[in-house]
Symmetry: C2
Subunit: 125 residues, 2 copies
Amino acid sequence: MSKQKVAPTLELTLADAACCTPLTEVALGAEKARDLAPAFKALGDPVRLQLLSQIATAESGEACVCDLTAGFELTGPTISHHLKVLREAGLIDCERRGTWVYYWIVPARMSALAHVLGSALAGAR
Amino acid sequence: MSKQKVAPTLELTLADAACCTPLTEVALGAEKARDLAPAFKALGDPVRLQLLSQIATAESGEACVCDLTAGFELTGPTISHHLKVLREAGLIDCERRGTWVYYWIVPARMSALAHVLGSALAGAR
DNA sequence: CCTCTGTTTTGATATCTGTCAAGATAGAAG
DNA sequence: CTTCTATCTTGACAGATATCAAAACAGAGG
C-alpha cells in the first residue's frame, strides 16, 4: 500500500538529552521501545507519579519512606509496592541508613524518557 | 473523532514547556497526577511507544493506519485498539479522509508530560 | 536475650490489559 | 445497488496489576 521507510535505530546517549537536543527525525526502534515502555508504565499510576514528584522535589534530593507514606491514604505495603515498581523501572534507587530507607531519582533514566517525549514533540511540527 | 477541544485552565503555556522551563519546586498535586498518569500509562506499552514515535516522525506530521500497521506483526484490530488507547489518553487525534484514517500528535498534551519529567529531572539535579 | 518501630514480602482477590477472531461500519468503485 | 477495501467494535480469554491483611525482616535500644 504505502511505503514503509524503515528507520535505523539511533544511538543516543547522555543524561542531558532532555533539553535543547538536536532532533532525531527517526522513529523509535523496537528494542528501545521495549526498554523504555516499562518506565513509562511505572509512571502510569497517579500514586507513583506523585511519589516520584515528591522524591524529586525533596530538598535534600532524597526522601524517607515515612515521609512519602504520610501523604497518601494507603497502607505501608502498598506504598512499598509502588516504590518497588519505580525502582525496578530504574527511575529511583534507595539505600537503608539505620532505621530509615531513603529514595532518590536516577537522572539518567529520567532524561532518557524526557528525550523520547522531546523528540516526539519536535517531530510533531 | 476529535473529542477534546481546549485544555481547561492549564497553567503551562503551550508546546515549549518541555525545554528550558523555570523549575517548579513543588510536588505534583493529586488532581494533576490523576490527569497525567493515564497518558503515561498509554505510553507504557512498547507497541504504543513505537506507534507514537512513528506518527511523530512522519514527514507530513501525520500517519495513515495502513502505514502504521505494516510495521508490526499484529492484527489490524490490535493496532486499532492501541491507537484508541493513545487517542483516549489525549496524545493523538485522528481524522478520516476518504478511505484512509490519519493520526497526528497533540503537542500540548505531549508537552504537559515532558514538563513533568523536566521538573523531576530539575529537582533531582 | 527481648521488644518496639519502620519497611518489605507474601498471599489473596477483584479489576484491568493485550491479543485475536468474527462481525460491523464507512467510503470508493463499479 | 452491490462489491471491495480499510478501519473499527465486540466478545472472549490468558495474563498482569492494585490493594490490603498478615507475616517477615532489619535495626535501635533496652
